[in-house]
């Protein structure tokens, strides 16, 4: 058993244990409780629902790793979607050409990065607490979006963008493929790039990082800009999935992204964490939600259980670490 655990840790990393156990537990519990749980339909619905929450979680991930947080992610995504939508409206709405759509995507990415850049600059140069800066940014962006849309929907897009939200390639949903590509991008960023190393350093000790010659301000600005950029991707996916843009869409995901990240072993104080355990944690959350749905329970019960799962995982982590510490003391 011990050897197996060691081998598991060596292959996947110790922070994979929690999500992996939760994954197995969810599969076993729902597999026994609902006889049609382990089916293509379940995994299909998970595959289509995962990207929305997943992309927002990726946007939340980098700031969390620096010891910060980005509470403005959902509204940055909404506003980016709005930017894409208004560009397409400008070029004929439902008759917009693929070129106009590409332009819209560029506008979305620019909007998201601009919002992130502002947030990052405010955090890096004023040293205000990220919770506050991103919170006021969130209120501002929500207001801006409501002001621009008058609280309504923007819809009427060309039909060729529907596959981005609903289509499949070789049986794999396109949004899922985009999401996996983004997971890969973040994984590369964190393991192969100087910025990834730098942001982990900033997260574990910003003063030490500064003294060792890292440009911590630049890192923070880049981190929040990338976070905004990922929000823009989420915004475009949401636009395609719902065929409309509405400010406030996905708002309920905001706090769940934080849970997903911590469930995936991100250190709440920053500095430590990897992308892959978070990916598994996201799958666990979606399986939980789909499983409950299958059993006839509603989405709100799933929300409550996400909270319970979070507390169980965090508590288990505390209990295990105190147990290990007490063992060490005796030995």
């Amino acid at each position: 058993m011990k050897a197996m655990a060691q081998k598991f840790n060596a292959t996947f990393g110790a922070d994979m244990t929690g999500p992996a156990i939760a994954f197995v537990a969810v599969i076993v519990i729902f597999g026994l409780a609902a006889n049609n749980f382990i089916s293509a339909a379940t995994f299909g619905s998970v595959a289509f629902q995962l990207p929305e929450l997943g992309l927002l979680t990726l946007a939340m991930l980098l700031p969390l790793l620096t010891g910060g947080i980005n509470l403005s992610i959902t509204f940055t995504a909404n506003l980016s979607g709005l930017a894409a939508a208004s560009v397409m409206q400008m070029y004929g709405g439902a008759d917009a050409s693929p070129g106009a759509f590409l332009l819209g995507i560029l506008a979305a990415l620019a909007t998201g990065s601009a919002a992130g850049l502002m947030t990052g600059a405010a955090i890096a140069y004023t040293r205000a607490h990220p919770i506050l800066v991103t919170l006021s940014m969130m209120i501002f962006l929500r207001g801006l979006g409501e002001f621009l849309t008058r609280g309504g929907d923007v819809s009427g897009f060309p039909s060729f963008i529907a596959p981005i939200g609903h289509g499949s390639i070789l049986g794999l949903p396109i949004p899922l493929l985009i999401f996996i590509a983004c997971v890969g991008l973040w994984q590369l960023l964190l393991t192969r790039f100087k910025l990834g190393f730098g942001l982990l350093m900033v997260g574990s000790n910003i003063e030490a990082a500064r003294y060792s010659g890292l440009n911590t301000r630049r890192i923070l600005v880049l981190v929040y800009t990338l976070s905004g950029l990922m929000c823009a991707v989420a915004g475009v996916i949401m636009l395609a999935r719902f065929n409309s843009v509405r400010v406030g869409h996905g708002e309920s995901y905001l706090l769940i992204t934080v849970l997903a990240a911590f469930l995936g072993g991100i250190n709440p104080f920053g500095g430590f964490g990897r992308v892959l355990p978070v990916f598994v944690a996201l799958i666990v959350l979606q399986l939980l939600s789909s499983g409950l749905n299958l059993m006839g329970a509603n989405q709100h019960l799933a929300t409550a259980l996400w909270g319970v799962l979070m507390i169980v995982v965090m508590a288990a982590r505390t209990i295990v670490s105190t147990y290990i510490a007490s063992r060490r003391k005796k030995g």
């Binding site: 209120i139 207001g143 849970l259 909270g307 979070m310 508590a315 209990i319």
Partner: protein, 338 residues
Amino acid sequence: MRRLILGHTTEFTLLAVMVVLCVGLSLATDRFFTISNAFDVLNVSAVNIIFAVGLLVVLISGGIDISFAVAASVVQYVTALALGALGGGNWAEGFIIAGAIGIGLGLINAALVYRLHIISIVATISTFNIFFGLLMFFTKGVSIYDLPEWLTTRVVFFEREMADGSWIELTLPVVVMILCCLATWFMISRTTVGRQLYAFGDNPEGARRFGINIAAMHYISFGWMGLMAGIAGLMQAHYAEEVVPNALYGRELDVLAATVLGGARLGGGKGSVIGCVLGVLMVSITQNGLNLMGVSPFAFKMIVGAIILIAITLSSARIDKLFPFLAKGSAKSRGTHQ
């Protein structure tokens, strides 16, 4: 006087900004500078101020609470059901039930933070989801309009018709709000417990070595927040004359922003009741002023958000750091104070 100002820079800055804002609004609109409008602002802000002083205690002790607004929704709902089961009840029973449930929910948070060592933002985001998820699950989103008569009847402590025919009135939520502020002020600045809360928030390890009861600090701060959330929930039900499960959803972040605007510090050890009240009032006055000026309500949040963003970044950064060319003069003047 000078020491008073230097010791409460945020509060005085906020007060100064508010005075400027009020003078500007009085000149721009003829409705703003009337007593009845002032009372309107107060009546509207009462519930948020009750939330804010509760949150203040948690912030001072170094924690944060995201779950209080949905906790208040739970309190509203359960209290309404309990009162129905009691066959009506009265104000005393209402406050006792709401307060007790509120404290209970607060203690759950405290236990998660203290016993299980979950950091408060994670613990309260979890309980946020649990409270709200279970509330919506069990209520199926159905509102309660059939409240006891005493709860929905407006209680007016003082009313007077002004010369221009408008009415000013001091209603129950405002009176309760004032009592909550006084109680919180008394606890945090006139009792040993208050001193300990500040000390604990400023330096938890130092406070522990000093012999401060850490467990008590957690249970008192989150319990107080719970009590205030319970009272605020009851007041909201009284004010709105209905119980809607998701009416308070989303309020937590607005209150948090207003509280921090008033000088409470994330990370603990700093904050005052006056600052907190000013922070909430600042937001309400801005909204009220924009409303009177005929600005589209859709633009409110945008402007309020921009103001909070500017205020928070400016108050966190020393001005001379943002604008180095101003540094010489201000460095000199600061030197004389120290």
